[in-house]
Subunit: 299 residues, 2 copies
Amino acid sequence: MLTIQQLSQELNLGVDTLRIWERRYGFPKPARDSRGHRRYPLEQVDLLRTVCRLQELGHRPNKIFALSEKERTDILEQAQQITNPELINYEALILNGSVSKIENKLRSYLSVNGLEQLITERILPIIRIMGRHWINGKLSIAREHMISDILGDILKEQLLLPHPQEPDRTIIFLTLCGERHKLGLLMSAALFHLLGINCLLIQEELPLMEVPQLALDTSSDAVALSFSSHYSSRQAKKDLATLRNELDPEIKIIAGGNAIQKPFHLPDVILCSDLGQIPEIYRKFFSGSKSSVKAAAAG
Amino acid sequence: MLTIQQLSQELNLGVDTLRIWERRYGFPKPARDSRGHRRYPLEQVDLLRTVCRLQELGHRPNKIFALSEKERTDILEQAQQITNPELINYEALILNGSVSKIENKLRSYLSVNGLEQLITERILPIIRIMGRHWINGKLSIAREHMISDILGDILKEQLLLPHPQEPDRTIIFLTLCGERHKLGLLMSAALFHLLGINCLLIQEELPLMEVPQLALDTSSDAVALSFSSHYSSRQAKKDLATLRNELDPEIKIIAGGNAIQKPFHLPDVILCSDLGQIPEIYRKFFSGSKSSVKAAAAG
DNA sequence: TTCATATTTTGTCTAGGACAATTTTCATGC
DNA sequence: GCATGAAAATTGTCCTAGACAAAATATGAA
């Protein structure tokens, strides 16, 4: 029996959303305690989880709630396409295997094929596999986190490798409060590091208002933020607009993550909906020595 | 100009709390947009920050709001006592110095004095110093996080060191959703590791309901949770009670962190209000081989 | 003093209404 | 057929104002 707030944390939904779903769709229909406060039985929590998963697949609440329970699970089953090649090994390891085995496999792949391939050929597919199995409920959040930790650790180590030559550009990578997914941020930081940029990573979630000061303190040339699909795209938009307003206009903003897919234009914000765009972004905004660009701007 | 939700995230307060403060104490008194929605000017955000800081010092809202602005800052100034010994070096480094310098100093201290002293003589004082300066606003959250990251990295490395002999007890260390402070958890994990326990660390925040399954999957003997002062003690209590209910009674629960200070008793939950208690907890609950304890229980 | 009991304070909940932003539907023109 | 734009529906977040348990503080008796 969970309170509305516990459930809200559990599902990453606002309490208002839970209440209005009950009002509009008649579900969830929690029991009430002596005070009349909602108490959600665990079975309803499970049902709600499938609702959230379907929503992440792009379905909208009115459709989802119109479906029967079976129809919902059918859609979820169907959503897991079969994977193609040798990644099937990983699939089994992700679901049941030892996490340290995954780590070893990844590390040896890294030392043979390098970081860029590790990201595109291994880490991204693994994230996709995890997402698929999280959606159909076969992968516990806990396991997902343990594996994500390993991926994160490997990427973080890459940021510590020395640069071939002293970088003259700095990008600071961070997430805002409420954004729990940091792998996308880490991957982009690792890729920018590879391109010779000095990448500062803030691992914890920052309040929006601290960001401008931090960018100044670190004399960063750009701030990179990641917004996963948990962060509503409207919220991301608001935050980016506020940040653009508060931040020194000299300092660029790079926004990435799944919440940034939409044709969603913001003035003076570099959008990065795909890690593949990073070399292009680098070329366009960060290549050439800093002083020469300044000279060009002045000339 | 922030919306109520942005402010709520910024200050770690519920939106309901912000509204009821306005109703009861007449502050904050935000402007309203065309829809009548609250819009908080940045100056009010700063004032609210001092309110939150005072609250963290143990003052209660009705007293705080009765004070003038000057009285509040006076109390905050006064709250920063002078530090004693050689730690003053650290104080300067924390406020202005290079973070990598802090890292180097800590690492060399570690290699000379070992983990236990590092924690009690360096990490805990640093956390205290940071807390003090965060309270009076001289340390940005961003800087605090960068330094916390370093402390975290050092502690995490300790968990990777091999044990002198194969451990037969496993404790899984985790935080629940909404708990952003992980250093306390890390320190306790490092100390238990030192005592010969196999410590599994989940770095990301978990939904409460995933914990029982995870404890089973990892065949842990205990689950250790940390609740910082941001987590209201009432919430911590609720969560621990729920968890105790859902979890296999064989598996112990260890609860620590600042929210666990109060004379706050829960049946079958081991409370750890202080890292110094860890050896005692170890002796009481985890020493002796597992099989012998089981035999004793059976006999 | 120390305890037990009353009072105040505090945060979280309740209900039901409103509305901007987004998405979908539908009609129109090419 | 496809694009385009207006109209309708959907959705999440905000609003007000009232209620109450848990925690903190004050009060009084032993």
